[in-house]
Amino acid sequence: MPIKVPWLKGVFPALVTPFDRESEAVDDEAYRRLIRHALPDVDGIVTSGTTGEFPYLTREEQRRLVEIGVEEAEGKPVVAGCGASSTQEALALAGDAREAGASAALIVTPYFLHPSDKGVYQHFYDIAVGVELPIILYNIPQVMDRYLPRTVVEDLADLPNIIGLKDSSGNLTYTMEILEYAGDRIDVFVGHDEVVLPALAGGVNGMILASAQVYPEVWQEVVRLVGAGKIPAARARQREVQKLSRIFCRHGGGVAVKAALRMMGLDMGPPRRPLESVGGALIHETRAEIRLELEKLGKVPIRGVSFEYPDGPLTGRFADLEITAEEIGEYDLRVGSAVAGEGVNKVQIDLIAGGKETPLGDAYALQMTYPLHRREALTTILEPALTVRPSTLLLPTLPQKNLRQANMIYGPAQSALGRAIVDAVEMDRIPQQVVDSDVMVALVTIHPRAMDRHTVARSVQAAAAEAIEQAFGLSPSPGDGRDERGR
């Protein structure tokens, strides 16, 4: 049970601060919408925390956020982020928060200049003594470049209005040390979304999280399950949100949270500059992953897809390359086809190989000029600057409609196809003498809803290996009347 105040437990979202897209002004209405969205599943809210971009907010703006929070929170506690580099400013912010009706102030380790441990103690002491408001200490070395020293926390815990500590480090050795030395006098909250379950199991009393405005109900359940001693079930819930939590913690912070909220229909606007909505801390590829994870959690609707794996006679599947069945015979081109994987991980490879001076050579060069929009061909590589031989193009059969689909081709399919080819060369399935004289094109069909890069890569490698064996005459082609050499 909480030690100094009865309400300090459970799930608190570190709210993002919505800004207008043009003026970058705080968008009050959007903030109200966000709080109403999160409120049913939370035990309180946190304004102007790190996720709320507090260093980019003015004193007036921070006060306003607390006021809105108190108006909207229906009596649930509002914790006001009052972090500042100087003691004077932190004091002023905490004074404002008290007047605006906050239940507590969350105060980060003083940053930028590097005060000594004595200076850090004095900072928190001055605020605790100077403002009649409960104080939560805040350790976040990822942005402050230092830990809030345990020995300082140990002493600060004696002050009557220091009620807790939020540890965002994710370093459980620190959390455990704080619990050991101050856990009898203050409540410890976890602030790192990736380690909620282990921290709860280790004895923390609750959490202040960026992700608690995206999936607070998951965290409520984790709290309940841990409380009931049902650790395997809690572990399973944590696992469901592990990747998204990692993205919020390490690949974009509040920017990633805003991207997720926007996908869920809550437009919180851009971050303040110099942060950018995408392309900076949050890269495009990762943003595509956020949608994927939200789909899995049922937070955004899954878009339906309809498509087909290529079928019919194998020699008829290379029409996009303008290569006909007759030409395959006439120029001794080799073909092979194989499928691997199940469900959304099913991959089909239709492979064609032959001399550079055949129509395949022309097709190869032509595909490099991108005649097929959204089905741009890729040179097959093991990794950048390791181009495989024989030179092989990977040609997706389905249009790449978004980055999530492209993410399966660039990298996973590309390197797995490369590996299958080099394996085949090493094992002499592809004879050495054609390594320079021939080229290949692999038509690759990946389910548009494929999600797991590792599984896709394994499927591609297996299918490609088999298609190569067929083409180079080591195993029979599917019944299309061709001889054992795939011709």
């Binding site: 022309d362 890729l378 600057a385 031989r389 993410n407 080099v422």
Partner: protein, 488 residues
């Protein structure tokens, strides 16, 4: 009181150790030493660059003995004898004394992290061996950065401790050394990127990985500094800065070995887990080669191009991987990659082929049928070059950056004409299709241009020389790691 010794000054290479499947490759090691001897003031066998930490005690002894024998007293030999434990370090240093090494370079005991008192006591025990000792600070590898009082304590109080090698690159630390011990012991710099500033500020010499490649240039820097000609010393440092940055930061042992091989001194590869294409990335190899060419360390030799009936002789900066003849120009594939930064990295795929072959036909047809719609451009006429954007260009900003990428590719083509890879007589016979990738979130225009220049230049050379070879692919496939293969 003056210096404890007079021989510890000047340029010492931290010799790489050539290995073969049996062990130390003695012939290659002797060849390396003979190659370097004219331009060095001393030799360091079994230093960090010598991969001492990957060698058995017997191999380290063998290496030091070969070095002593080959050098034969012409310059001092400072043997790397540092080990993790004090007992072994004392034993190896005693052995080095017996076989006649001039001194021992002793690294801070590494892996487990002894306290500074324990480190001090370690050096005191080594000092008692009686062989001149150089303390060696290399926090990048050893995991501890000397405190000035540890270094000062040993350097001034120990009888046989004659100097310190500081590879940290931490100039404030080095300044503290000058303040405390200058003129009494030798202070050597071991970080190739700050040699000139360190020498200019008072260092007595340098022990360097890159002195395997450019000892003559380091001697020029040293000499100019002694003569007070700082402008000359600075100019040389700047001229080699890129090369040494690659060596220091991108897998120094493998970088030096591949550099030497390109210069004609085959010292093999580093021992595993250092692998080709690892810390010394493939793009680093291409850049190192270009730098060695610019410094005159790789010579040109004639190569014949067969284009059907036509034969063209061209002079290339050839390495062991350059064939004597290049035939079948139907269609050659080349690829290059250059970064960082991530958003500005360049990935160039290209085809070089005969104008009347598949590549020429593809250019004609694509320009006629979908060139405009897909943003294709002819960026050069000789050789005719079609540039294809790998990512569809949507915004004005992307267009602006793609133009910078195009400028980079164009420069690569121009310089490939100049250096002979695309010799004048073939420019009307071959054509190129070049893919350039500009990330939609790229912003630093100069890096977009620079990286595309590099990637395209590498790709042209690789296409012509047929690299990577099948042997390289087979050797490296298991460890290959595509950066986009993994989820965040």
């Amino acid at each position: 009181m003056g210096y404890k010794t007079d021989w510890l000054r000047g340029i010492f290479p931290a010799l790489v150790t050539p290995f073969d499947s049996e062990g130390v490759n003695e012939d290659a090691y002797r060849e390396l030493i003979r190659f370097l001897l004219p331009n060095v003031d001393g030799m360091v066998p079994c230093g960090t660059t010598g991969e001492f930490s990957y060698m058995t005690l017997e191999e380290r002894k063998e290496t030091v003995e070969i070095c002593l024998d080959e050098v034969d007293g012409r310059v001092p030999v400072l043997a790397g004898t540092g080990c993790t434990t004090t007992r072994r370090t004392v034993e190896l240093t005693s052995w080095a004394k017996e076989v006649g090494a001039d001194g021992a370079l002793v690294v801070a005991p590494y892996f487990l992290k002894p306290s500074f008192n324990e480190i001090y006591d370690h050096f005191r025990a080594v000092d008692e061996v009686g062989l001149p000792v150089v303390m060696y600070n290399i926090p990048q590898c050893a995991g501890t950065h000397f405190k000035w009082w540890t270094a000062e304590g040993g350097l001034l109080d120990f009888e046989n401790t004659i100097g310190i090698k500081d590879s940290s690159g931490d100039l404030p630390f080095m300044e503290a050394m000058f303040e405390k011990v200058k003129g009494k012991v030798s202070i050597f710099v071991g970080h190739d990127e700050v040699v000139q500033p360190a020498l200019g500020a008072g260092a007595d010499g340098a022990i360097l990985a890159s002195a395997n490649l450019i000892p003559d240039i380091w001697q020029k820097v040293h000499r100019a500094t002694l003569e007070g000609d700082f402008a000359t010393a600075q100019a040389w440092q700047q001229k080699v800065q890129k090369l040494v940055r690659i060596v220091v930061r991108c897998g120094s042992t493998q970088a030096c070995k591949e550099g030497l091989r390109m210069m004609g001194v085959d010292v093999g590869d580093s021992r595993h887990p250092i692998v080709p294409g690892g810390a010394f990335r493939r793009e680093d190899r291409e850049e190192l080669r270009l730098q060695l060419e610019a410094l005159g360390k790789i010579e040109k030799s004639p190569v014949t191009y067969h284009l059907g009936e036509k034969q063209v002789m061209t002079d290339l900066f050839a390495t062991h991987q350059t064939p004597d003849t290049v035939s079948d120009w139907t269609m050659k594939v080349g690829e290059g990659f250059a970064g960082p930064p991530f958003q500005e990295l360049a990935h160039v795929d290209l085809l070089i082929g005969l104008k009347d072959g598949p590549v020429g036909r593809a250019i004609k047809r694509s320009m006629a049928e979908w060139g405009e719609e897909r943003g294709l451009h002819i960026i050069a006429e000789r050789p005719r070059t079609l540039l294809v954007p790998t990512v569809t260009i949507r915004t004005q900003e992307q267009r602006r950056l793609f133009e910078r990428a195009a400028a980079g590719v164009k420069l690569a083509i121009d310089l490939s004409i100049e250096d002979g890879f695309l010799p004048e007589p073939i420019l009307d016979d071959v054509v190129l299709i070049v893919h350039a990738f500009v990330h939609p979130a790229a912003s630093i225009a100069r890096r977009v241009e620079g990286n595309n220049y590099k990637a395209a230049r590498h790709a042209i050379r690789k296409a012509v020389e047929g690299r990577p070879t099948v042997e390289e692919l087979i050797a490296e496939k298991a460890a290959a790691r595509h950066p986009f293969r993994y989820a965040p």
